[in-house]
Symmetry: C2
Subunit: 266 residues, 2 copies
Protein backbone atom coordinates (compact mmCIF):
# COMPACT_ATOMS: atom_id res chain seq x y z
CA UNK A 1 0.00 0.00 0.00
CA UNK A 2 1.20 3.50 -0.87
CA UNK A 3 0.38 6.70 1.02
CA UNK A 4 0.52 9.65 -1.36
CA UNK A 5 0.38 13.18 0.00
CA UNK A 6 -0.45 16.02 -2.34
CA UNK A 7 0.42 19.41 -0.93
CA UNK A 8 -2.29 22.01 -0.63
CA UNK A 9 -0.02 24.48 -2.44
CA UNK A 10 -0.20 22.39 -5.62
CA UNK A 11 -3.98 22.05 -5.57
CA UNK A 12 -4.95 25.62 -4.77
CA UNK A 13 -3.97 28.99 -6.17
CA UNK A 14 -2.00 30.61 -3.38
CA UNK A 15 -1.86 33.96 -5.16
CA UNK A 16 -5.61 34.27 -5.56
CA UNK A 17 -7.49 36.44 -3.06
CA UNK A 18 -10.38 33.97 -2.97
CA UNK A 19 -10.02 30.26 -2.15
CA UNK A 20 -9.55 28.83 -5.59
CA UNK A 21 -8.70 25.40 -6.89
CA UNK A 22 -5.86 24.90 -9.39
CA UNK A 23 -7.96 22.86 -11.84
CA UNK A 24 -5.22 22.29 -14.38
CA UNK A 25 -2.77 20.93 -11.84
CA UNK A 26 -5.50 18.83 -10.25
CA UNK A 27 -6.54 17.24 -13.54
CA UNK A 28 -2.94 16.46 -14.48
CA UNK A 29 -2.18 14.82 -11.14
CA UNK A 30 -5.40 12.81 -11.24
CA UNK A 31 -4.59 11.54 -14.72
CA UNK A 32 -1.03 10.59 -13.69
CA UNK A 33 -2.41 8.55 -10.80
CA UNK A 34 -4.97 6.93 -13.10
CA UNK A 35 -2.27 6.00 -15.65
CA UNK A 36 -0.24 4.31 -12.94
CA UNK A 37 -3.25 2.37 -11.59
CA UNK A 38 -4.14 1.33 -15.14
CA UNK A 39 -0.64 -0.07 -15.62
CA UNK A 40 -0.82 -2.15 -12.44
CA UNK A 41 -3.19 -2.39 -9.49
CA UNK A 42 -2.01 -0.60 -6.37
CA UNK A 43 -3.59 0.10 -3.01
CA UNK A 44 -3.46 3.84 -2.45
CA UNK A 45 -4.38 6.32 0.26
CA UNK A 46 -4.38 10.00 -0.69
CA UNK A 47 -3.71 12.74 1.84
CA UNK A 48 -4.14 16.36 0.83
CA UNK A 49 -3.37 19.64 2.52
CA UNK A 50 -5.80 22.42 3.41
CA UNK A 51 -4.17 24.93 1.06
CA UNK A 52 -5.72 28.35 0.64
CA UNK A 53 -9.11 26.99 1.79
CA UNK A 54 -8.34 25.93 5.35
CA UNK A 55 -5.63 28.34 6.41
CA UNK A 56 -7.58 31.65 6.38
CA UNK A 57 -10.38 30.65 8.82
CA UNK A 58 -7.96 28.64 11.00
CA UNK A 59 -5.73 31.71 11.24
CA UNK A 60 -8.56 34.21 11.70
CA UNK A 61 -9.99 32.27 14.65
CA UNK A 62 -6.55 31.22 15.99
CA UNK A 63 -7.56 27.56 16.11
CA UNK A 64 -5.11 25.62 18.28
CA UNK A 65 -4.15 28.54 20.54
CA UNK A 66 -5.26 28.52 24.19
CA UNK A 67 -8.37 30.61 24.86
CA UNK A 68 -10.66 31.84 27.65
CA UNK A 69 -13.95 30.07 28.33
CA UNK A 70 -16.02 33.06 27.18
CA UNK A 71 -14.35 32.86 23.76
CA UNK A 72 -15.65 29.32 23.22
CA UNK A 73 -18.72 30.24 21.12
CA UNK A 74 -16.55 32.16 18.65
CA UNK A 75 -13.93 29.39 18.60
CA UNK A 76 -16.63 26.86 17.80
CA UNK A 77 -17.75 28.92 14.82
CA UNK A 78 -14.12 29.15 13.67
CA UNK A 79 -13.80 25.37 13.98
CA UNK A 80 -16.97 24.85 11.93
CA UNK A 81 -15.93 27.38 9.28
CA UNK A 82 -12.55 25.67 8.91
CA UNK A 83 -14.12 22.21 8.72
CA UNK A 84 -16.51 23.39 6.07
CA UNK A 85 -13.80 25.17 4.05
CA UNK A 86 -11.57 22.08 3.85
CA UNK A 87 -14.64 19.97 3.09
CA UNK A 88 -15.28 22.24 0.12
CA UNK A 89 -11.69 21.84 -1.09
CA UNK A 90 -11.98 18.06 -0.66
CA UNK A 91 -15.25 18.05 -2.59
CA UNK A 92 -13.64 19.90 -5.51
CA UNK A 93 -10.59 17.60 -5.47
CA UNK A 94 -12.75 14.46 -5.35
CA UNK A 95 -14.90 15.81 -8.19
CA UNK A 96 -11.82 16.19 -10.41
CA UNK A 97 -10.42 12.80 -9.38
CA UNK A 98 -13.71 10.96 -9.96
CA UNK A 99 -13.93 12.68 -13.36
CA UNK A 100 -10.63 10.97 -14.25
CA UNK A 101 -12.00 7.62 -13.08
CA UNK A 102 -10.42 7.41 -9.62
CA UNK A 103 -12.72 5.83 -6.97
CA UNK A 104 -11.90 8.30 -4.21
CA UNK A 105 -13.86 8.23 -0.97
CA UNK A 106 -13.37 10.91 1.69
CA UNK A 107 -12.83 9.97 5.34
CA UNK A 108 -12.44 13.32 7.13
CA UNK A 109 -10.25 13.42 10.25
CA UNK A 110 -12.83 15.58 12.06
CA UNK A 111 -15.37 12.77 11.95
CA UNK A 112 -13.34 10.19 13.91
CA UNK A 113 -10.01 11.50 15.21
CA UNK A 114 -9.18 13.38 18.41
CA UNK A 115 -5.91 14.96 19.49
CA UNK A 116 -4.09 15.77 22.70
CA UNK A 117 -2.04 18.97 22.57
CA UNK A 118 -2.14 19.04 18.77
CA UNK A 119 -1.07 15.41 18.27
CA UNK A 120 -3.54 12.74 17.10
CA UNK A 121 -4.10 10.35 20.01
CA UNK A 122 -7.26 8.60 18.90
CA UNK A 123 -8.56 7.53 15.50
CA UNK A 124 -9.72 4.07 14.50
CA UNK A 125 -8.57 3.34 10.93
CA UNK A 126 -10.89 0.39 10.22
CA UNK A 127 -12.77 2.38 7.57
CA UNK A 128 -9.52 2.87 5.66
CA UNK A 129 -8.85 -0.87 5.69
CA UNK A 130 -12.39 -1.69 4.56
CA UNK A 131 -12.38 0.80 1.68
CA UNK A 132 -8.91 -0.33 0.57
CA UNK A 133 -10.05 -3.97 0.61
CA UNK A 134 -12.96 -3.04 -1.65
CA UNK A 135 -10.76 -1.28 -4.21
CA UNK A 136 -11.49 2.31 -3.20
CA UNK A 137 -8.95 5.08 -2.68
CA UNK A 138 -9.52 6.59 0.79
CA UNK A 139 -8.82 10.33 0.96
CA UNK A 140 -8.08 12.26 4.14
CA UNK A 141 -6.97 15.87 4.52
CA UNK A 142 -5.74 18.61 6.80
CA UNK A 143 -8.68 19.31 9.13
CA UNK A 144 -9.80 20.44 12.57
CA UNK A 145 -10.36 17.97 15.40
CA UNK A 146 -11.31 18.02 19.09
CA UNK A 147 -8.32 18.24 21.43
CA UNK A 148 -8.29 16.84 24.97
CA UNK A 149 -6.12 19.70 26.19
CA UNK A 150 -6.78 22.64 23.88
CA UNK A 151 -10.48 21.81 23.17
CA UNK A 152 -9.89 22.16 19.41
CA UNK A 153 -6.89 22.13 17.09
CA UNK A 154 -5.73 21.88 13.50
CA UNK A 155 -4.25 18.63 12.17
CA UNK A 156 -1.93 19.01 9.17
CA UNK A 157 -1.79 16.64 6.23
CA UNK A 158 1.80 15.90 7.25
CA UNK A 159 0.78 14.72 10.69
CA UNK A 160 -1.94 12.59 9.09
CA UNK A 161 0.65 10.84 6.90
CA UNK A 162 2.64 9.97 9.95
CA UNK A 163 -0.37 8.66 11.89
CA UNK A 164 -1.60 6.60 8.94
CA UNK A 165 1.85 5.21 8.21
CA UNK A 166 2.53 4.20 11.82
CA UNK A 167 -0.80 2.41 12.03
CA UNK A 168 -1.21 0.97 8.54
CA UNK A 169 2.42 0.16 7.72
CA UNK A 170 2.51 1.21 4.04
CA UNK A 171 5.15 -0.04 1.60
CA UNK A 172 5.93 3.51 0.57
CA UNK A 173 5.19 7.09 1.57
CA UNK A 174 5.36 9.80 -1.09
CA UNK A 175 5.04 13.54 -0.58
CA UNK A 176 4.23 15.60 -3.63
CA UNK A 177 5.28 19.21 -2.94
CA UNK A 178 6.07 22.30 -5.01
CA UNK A 179 9.85 21.88 -4.65
CA UNK A 180 12.27 19.15 -5.77
CA UNK A 181 12.97 18.03 -2.22
CA UNK A 182 15.07 19.35 0.66
CA UNK A 183 17.65 22.08 0.12
CA UNK A 184 19.99 23.72 2.62
CA UNK A 185 18.55 27.09 1.61
CA UNK A 186 15.65 28.28 -0.52
CA UNK A 187 16.84 27.37 -4.04
CA UNK A 188 14.62 30.02 -5.59
CA UNK A 189 16.56 32.79 -3.88
CA UNK A 190 19.97 31.19 -3.16
CA UNK A 191 22.26 29.94 -5.92
CA UNK A 192 24.49 28.14 -3.41
CA UNK A 193 21.64 26.02 -1.98
CA UNK A 194 22.74 22.39 -1.56
CA UNK A 195 20.29 19.61 -2.45
CA UNK A 196 19.91 16.61 -0.12
CA UNK A 197 19.33 13.23 -1.78
CA UNK A 198 18.83 11.61 1.57
CA UNK A 199 18.01 12.58 5.11
CA UNK A 200 18.60 10.13 7.93
CA UNK A 201 18.86 11.76 11.29
CA UNK A 202 18.06 14.66 13.52
CA UNK A 203 21.68 15.74 13.10
CA UNK A 204 21.00 16.28 9.41
CA UNK A 205 18.02 18.34 10.48
CA UNK A 206 20.16 20.46 12.81
CA UNK A 207 22.43 21.28 9.89
CA UNK A 208 19.39 22.30 7.90
CA UNK A 209 17.89 24.40 10.64
CA UNK A 210 21.25 26.11 11.16
CA UNK A 211 21.60 27.16 7.56
CA UNK A 212 18.09 28.13 6.53
CA UNK A 213 15.04 29.99 7.65
CA UNK A 214 12.18 27.74 8.73
CA UNK A 215 9.57 29.95 7.11
CA UNK A 216 11.44 30.12 3.83
CA UNK A 217 11.34 26.34 3.52
CA UNK A 218 7.56 26.49 3.66
CA UNK A 219 7.11 24.07 6.49
CA UNK A 220 9.75 21.68 5.18
CA UNK A 221 11.32 21.24 8.61
CA UNK A 222 7.95 20.20 10.03
CA UNK A 223 7.52 17.64 7.25
CA UNK A 224 10.98 16.20 7.86
CA UNK A 225 10.36 15.82 11.58
CA UNK A 226 7.19 13.81 10.91
CA UNK A 227 9.01 11.67 8.36
CA UNK A 228 12.12 11.04 10.48
CA UNK A 229 9.84 9.51 13.07
CA UNK A 230 8.59 7.11 10.39
CA UNK A 231 12.15 6.44 9.26
CA UNK A 232 12.97 5.27 12.79
CA UNK A 233 10.19 2.70 12.42
CA UNK A 234 11.68 1.55 9.11
CA UNK A 235 9.14 3.34 6.89
CA UNK A 236 10.90 5.24 4.12
CA UNK A 237 9.40 8.41 2.64
CA UNK A 238 10.26 10.40 -0.45
CA UNK A 239 9.66 14.10 -1.06
CA UNK A 240 9.28 14.98 -4.73
CA UNK A 241 8.11 17.87 -6.89
CA UNK A 242 4.54 17.18 -7.99
CA UNK A 243 4.53 20.25 -10.23
CA UNK A 244 6.94 18.55 -12.65
CA UNK A 245 5.05 16.70 -15.37
CA UNK A 246 4.94 12.90 -14.90
CA UNK A 247 6.73 12.94 -11.53
CA UNK A 248 3.70 11.51 -9.72
CA UNK A 249 3.27 8.83 -12.37
CA UNK A 250 6.96 7.91 -12.27
CA UNK A 251 7.22 7.78 -8.51
CA UNK A 252 4.13 5.56 -8.30
CA UNK A 253 5.75 3.29 -10.90
CA UNK A 254 8.92 3.30 -8.80
CA UNK A 255 10.85 4.92 -11.64
CA UNK A 256 13.73 7.32 -11.00
CA UNK A 257 12.54 10.79 -9.89
CA UNK A 258 14.56 13.57 -8.33
CA UNK A 259 13.68 13.90 -4.66
CA UNK A 260 14.80 13.58 -1.06
CA UNK A 261 14.52 10.20 0.64
CA UNK A 262 13.92 10.25 4.39
CA UNK A 263 15.18 6.95 5.72
CA UNK A 264 16.85 5.35 8.70
CA UNK A 265 20.63 5.73 8.83
CA UNK A 266 22.73 2.58 8.75
Amino acid sequence: MIILKIGGSILTNKDSAESEIDSKSLKRIASEIKSSLDRSDKQLIIVHGAGSFGHPPAKEYKIGEPFQKDEYPQKRIGFCKTQNAVKKLNMLICEAFIEEGLPVVAIPASSFMTATNKRITDGNLNSFKKYLDKGFIPVIYGDVVLDNQLEICVISGDQLIQYLAVNLNPDRVILGTDVDGVYSKNPKTHDDAIFFDRFSSLEDLDTLEGTTNVDVTGGMVGKIKELLYLAELGIEAKIINAEVNDNIFKVLEDEKVKGTVISRGN
Copy 2:
Protein backbone atom coordinates in the same frame (compact mmCIF):
# COMPACT_ATOMS: atom_id res chain seq x y z
CA MET B 1 -30.99 15.86 23.48
CA ILE B 2 -33.13 16.43 20.38
CA ILE B 3 -32.67 14.76 16.99
CA LEU B 4 -34.00 17.04 14.25
CA LYS B 5 -34.37 15.72 10.72
CA ILE B 6 -34.76 18.19 7.89
CA GLY B 7 -36.04 16.59 4.72
CA GLY B 8 -34.00 16.91 1.56
CA SER B 9 -37.11 18.16 -0.25
CA ILE B 10 -37.17 21.28 1.90
CA LEU B 11 -33.51 22.10 1.39
CA THR B 12 -33.21 21.55 -2.35
CA ASN B 13 -35.22 22.70 -5.33
CA LYS B 14 -36.86 19.54 -6.62
CA ASP B 15 -38.12 21.24 -9.76
CA SER B 16 -34.72 22.47 -10.87
CA ALA B 17 -32.86 20.46 -13.52
CA GLU B 18 -29.55 21.03 -11.75
CA SER B 19 -28.89 20.12 -8.13
CA GLU B 20 -29.78 23.36 -6.44
CA ILE B 21 -30.08 24.44 -2.85
CA ASP B 22 -33.22 26.24 -1.61
CA SER B 23 -31.31 29.13 0.01
CA LYS B 24 -34.33 30.97 1.31
CA SER B 25 -35.79 27.94 3.05
CA LEU B 26 -32.36 27.02 4.40
CA LYS B 27 -31.76 30.47 5.89
CA ARG B 28 -35.21 30.56 7.49
CA ILE B 29 -34.81 27.15 9.11
CA ALA B 30 -31.30 27.98 10.34
CA SER B 31 -32.55 31.19 11.92
CA GLU B 32 -35.49 29.39 13.59
CA ILE B 33 -33.06 26.88 15.13
CA LYS B 34 -30.78 29.73 16.26
CA SER B 35 -33.68 31.61 17.87
CA SER B 36 -34.64 28.52 19.84
CA LEU B 37 -31.04 27.87 21.00
CA ASP B 38 -30.75 31.54 21.99
CA ARG B 39 -33.85 31.25 24.13
CA SER B 40 -32.51 28.19 25.99
CA ASP B 41 -29.54 25.85 25.56
CA LYS B 42 -30.38 22.54 23.92
CA GLN B 43 -28.29 19.62 22.72
CA LEU B 44 -29.16 19.03 19.09
CA ILE B 45 -28.24 16.57 16.33
CA ILE B 46 -29.29 17.49 12.81
CA VAL B 47 -29.99 14.86 10.15
CA HIS B 48 -30.63 15.93 6.59
CA GLY B 49 -31.73 14.10 3.49
CA ALA B 50 -29.86 13.78 0.20
CA GLY B 51 -32.50 15.68 -1.78
CA SER B 52 -31.91 16.43 -5.42
CA PHE B 53 -28.13 16.08 -4.92
CA GLY B 54 -27.82 12.45 -3.89
CA HIS B 55 -30.72 10.80 -5.70
CA PRO B 56 -29.63 11.25 -9.34
CA PRO B 57 -26.20 9.52 -9.10
CA ALA B 58 -27.55 6.84 -6.72
CA LYS B 59 -30.31 6.12 -9.21
CA GLU B 60 -28.10 6.28 -12.30
CA TYR B 61 -25.64 3.74 -10.87
CA LYS B 62 -28.36 1.68 -9.14
CA ILE B 63 -26.55 1.79 -5.80
CA GLY B 64 -27.94 -0.88 -3.49
CA GLU B 65 -29.03 -3.30 -6.21
CA PRO B 66 -27.16 -6.62 -6.62
CA PHE B 67 -24.53 -6.57 -9.38
CA GLN B 68 -22.02 -8.75 -11.24
CA LYS B 69 -18.36 -8.66 -10.28
CA ASP B 70 -17.33 -7.07 -13.58
CA GLU B 71 -19.64 -4.14 -12.86
CA TYR B 72 -17.72 -3.30 -9.67
CA PRO B 73 -15.47 -0.57 -11.15
CA GLN B 74 -18.51 1.34 -12.41
CA LYS B 75 -20.38 0.79 -9.14
CA ARG B 76 -17.41 2.19 -7.23
CA ILE B 77 -17.49 5.35 -9.34
CA GLY B 78 -21.23 5.64 -8.70
CA PHE B 79 -20.61 5.27 -4.98
CA CYS B 80 -17.94 8.00 -5.08
CA LYS B 81 -20.11 10.34 -7.17
CA THR B 82 -22.98 9.94 -4.74
CA GLN B 83 -20.73 10.46 -1.71
CA ASN B 84 -19.35 13.62 -3.27
CA ALA B 85 -22.77 14.96 -4.29
CA VAL B 86 -24.22 14.65 -0.78
CA LYS B 87 -21.00 16.09 0.62
CA LYS B 88 -21.57 19.13 -1.59
CA LEU B 89 -25.15 19.48 -0.34
CA ASN B 90 -23.92 19.15 3.25
CA MET B 91 -21.24 21.77 2.62
CA LEU B 92 -23.84 24.23 1.33
CA ILE B 93 -26.20 23.52 4.24
CA CYS B 94 -23.41 23.91 6.81
CA GLU B 95 -22.32 27.16 5.15
CA ALA B 96 -25.82 28.61 5.57
CA PHE B 97 -26.14 27.31 9.14
CA ILE B 98 -22.73 28.64 10.22
CA GLU B 99 -23.67 31.98 8.66
CA GLU B 100 -26.61 32.11 11.11
CA GLY B 101 -24.29 31.29 14.01
CA LEU B 102 -24.96 27.56 14.40
CA PRO B 103 -21.84 25.52 15.30
CA VAL B 104 -22.56 22.63 12.95
CA VAL B 105 -19.97 19.92 12.42
CA ALA B 106 -20.45 17.21 9.80
CA ILE B 107 -19.94 13.54 10.65
CA PRO B 108 -20.66 11.68 7.38
CA ALA B 109 -22.07 8.15 7.63
CA SER B 110 -19.71 6.96 4.87
CA SER B 111 -16.68 7.66 7.05
CA PHE B 112 -17.58 5.32 9.91
CA MET B 113 -20.76 3.28 9.31
CA THR B 114 -21.27 -0.04 7.53
CA ALA B 115 -24.48 -1.84 6.66
CA THR B 116 -25.69 -5.37 6.13
CA ASN B 117 -28.37 -5.73 3.48
CA LYS B 118 -29.14 -1.98 3.57
CA ARG B 119 -29.43 -1.75 7.36
CA ILE B 120 -26.74 -0.04 9.46
CA THR B 121 -25.02 -2.74 11.52
CA ASP B 122 -21.87 -0.93 12.58
CA GLY B 123 -21.16 2.68 13.48
CA ASN B 124 -19.50 3.93 16.65
CA LEU B 125 -21.19 7.15 17.80
CA ASN B 126 -18.50 8.39 20.18
CA SER B 127 -17.75 11.37 17.95
CA PHE B 128 -21.37 12.50 18.29
CA LYS B 129 -21.15 12.33 22.09
CA LYS B 130 -17.86 14.24 22.14
CA TYR B 131 -19.07 17.04 19.87
CA LEU B 132 -22.37 17.34 21.79
CA ASP B 133 -20.43 17.57 25.08
CA LYS B 134 -18.39 20.44 23.64
CA GLY B 135 -21.46 22.40 22.54
CA PHE B 136 -21.36 21.58 18.83
CA ILE B 137 -24.29 20.48 16.66
CA PRO B 138 -23.31 17.22 14.90
CA VAL B 139 -24.79 16.89 11.41
CA ILE B 140 -25.22 13.60 9.54
CA TYR B 141 -27.02 12.98 6.26
CA GLY B 142 -28.30 10.46 3.73
CA ASP B 143 -25.16 8.87 2.30
CA VAL B 144 -23.59 5.77 0.78
CA VAL B 145 -21.85 3.14 2.94
CA LEU B 146 -20.14 -0.23 2.50
CA ASP B 147 -22.51 -3.19 2.84
CA ASN B 148 -21.42 -6.64 4.04
CA GLN B 149 -23.87 -8.32 1.68
CA LEU B 150 -24.42 -5.93 -1.23
CA GLU B 151 -20.89 -4.40 -1.20
CA ILE B 152 -22.35 -0.88 -1.24
CA CYS B 153 -25.71 0.70 -0.43
CA VAL B 154 -27.56 3.93 0.26
CA ILE B 155 -28.52 4.89 3.80
CA SER B 156 -31.47 7.29 4.10
CA GLY B 157 -31.71 10.13 6.57
CA ASP B 158 -34.73 8.33 8.06
CA GLN B 159 -32.72 5.20 8.81
CA LEU B 160 -30.01 7.40 10.36
CA ILE B 161 -32.56 8.96 12.73
CA GLN B 162 -33.57 5.52 13.89
CA TYR B 163 -29.97 4.31 14.41
CA LEU B 164 -28.99 7.49 16.27
CA ALA B 165 -32.11 7.42 18.42
CA VAL B 166 -31.73 3.76 19.38
CA ASN B 167 -28.10 4.31 20.38
CA LEU B 168 -28.17 7.82 21.85
CA ASN B 169 -31.61 7.80 23.50
CA PRO B 170 -32.76 11.36 22.67
CA ASP B 171 -35.50 13.15 24.60
CA ARG B 172 -37.30 13.97 21.37
CA VAL B 173 -37.19 13.13 17.66
CA ILE B 174 -38.55 15.68 15.19
CA LEU B 175 -39.01 15.23 11.45
CA GLY B 176 -39.39 18.38 9.41
CA THR B 177 -41.04 17.45 6.11
CA ASP B 178 -42.97 19.28 3.38
CA VAL B 179 -46.38 18.07 4.62
CA ASP B 180 -48.29 18.64 7.88
CA GLY B 181 -47.92 15.03 8.95
CA VAL B 182 -49.56 11.73 8.02
CA TYR B 183 -52.76 11.67 5.96
CA SER B 184 -54.78 8.70 4.77
CA LYS B 185 -54.40 10.01 1.20
CA ASN B 186 -52.40 12.74 -0.47
CA PRO B 187 -54.10 15.90 0.86
CA LYS B 188 -52.94 17.92 -2.13
CA THR B 189 -55.03 15.81 -4.49
CA HIS B 190 -57.74 14.35 -2.22
CA ASP B 191 -60.24 16.51 -0.35
CA ASP B 192 -61.39 13.56 1.76
CA ALA B 193 -57.88 12.82 3.11
CA ILE B 194 -58.00 12.17 6.86
CA PHE B 195 -55.24 13.60 9.06
CA PHE B 196 -53.70 11.41 11.79
CA ASP B 197 -52.75 13.18 15.03
CA ARG B 198 -51.15 10.05 16.36
CA PHE B 199 -49.82 6.75 15.07
CA SER B 200 -49.18 3.90 17.50
CA SER B 201 -49.06 0.55 15.82
CA LEU B 202 -48.46 -1.47 12.74
CA GLU B 203 -52.24 -1.88 12.52
CA ASP B 204 -52.55 1.87 11.98
CA LEU B 205 -49.97 1.49 9.26
CA ASP B 206 -51.99 -1.29 7.60
CA THR B 207 -54.97 1.06 7.44
CA LEU B 208 -52.80 3.67 5.85
CA GLU B 209 -51.24 1.32 3.34
CA GLY B 210 -54.67 0.02 2.45
CA THR B 211 -56.07 3.40 1.61
CA THR B 212 -53.23 5.19 -0.07
CA ASN B 213 -50.50 4.83 -2.60
CA VAL B 214 -47.03 4.46 -1.11
CA ASP B 215 -45.47 6.63 -3.79
CA VAL B 216 -48.05 9.36 -3.35
CA THR B 217 -47.11 9.70 0.32
CA GLY B 218 -43.56 10.46 -0.74
CA GLY B 219 -41.85 7.82 1.35
CA MET B 220 -44.07 8.52 4.36
CA VAL B 221 -44.69 4.82 4.98
CA GLY B 222 -40.93 4.21 5.15
CA LYS B 223 -40.56 7.01 7.68
CA ILE B 224 -43.38 5.66 9.83
CA LYS B 225 -41.88 2.16 9.89
CA GLU B 226 -38.54 3.54 11.16
CA LEU B 227 -40.35 5.64 13.77
CA LEU B 228 -42.68 2.87 14.99
CA TYR B 229 -39.59 0.86 15.85
CA LEU B 230 -38.45 3.79 18.01
CA ALA B 231 -41.93 4.10 19.53
CA GLU B 232 -41.66 0.47 20.69
CA LEU B 233 -38.50 1.48 22.58
CA GLY B 234 -40.39 4.37 24.19
CA ILE B 235 -38.88 7.09 21.97
CA GLU B 236 -41.59 9.40 20.65
CA ALA B 237 -41.23 11.14 17.28
CA LYS B 238 -43.20 13.96 15.70
CA ILE B 239 -43.62 14.65 11.99
CA ILE B 240 -44.25 18.32 11.20
CA ASN B 241 -44.30 20.67 8.23
CA ALA B 242 -41.00 22.54 8.14
CA GLU B 243 -42.19 24.72 5.27
CA VAL B 244 -44.61 26.52 7.58
CA ASN B 245 -43.02 29.62 9.10
CA ASP B 246 -41.94 29.20 12.74
CA ASN B 247 -42.89 25.52 12.92
CA ILE B 248 -39.29 24.44 13.56
CA PHE B 249 -38.87 27.14 16.21
CA LYS B 250 -42.14 26.22 17.91
CA VAL B 251 -41.51 22.49 17.93
CA LEU B 252 -38.02 23.01 19.38
CA GLU B 253 -39.62 25.17 22.08
CA ASP B 254 -42.17 22.41 22.68
CA GLU B 255 -44.99 24.75 21.67
CA LYS B 256 -48.14 23.47 19.96
CA VAL B 257 -47.54 22.62 16.27
CA LYS B 258 -49.75 20.64 13.92
CA GLY B 259 -48.19 17.26 13.24
CA THR B 260 -48.36 13.49 13.65
CA VAL B 261 -46.94 11.93 16.79
CA ILE B 262 -45.56 8.40 16.45
CA SER B 263 -45.69 6.86 19.89
CA ARG B 264 -46.24 3.60 21.71
CA GLY B 265 -49.88 2.63 22.20
CA ASN B 266 -51.18 2.15 25.74
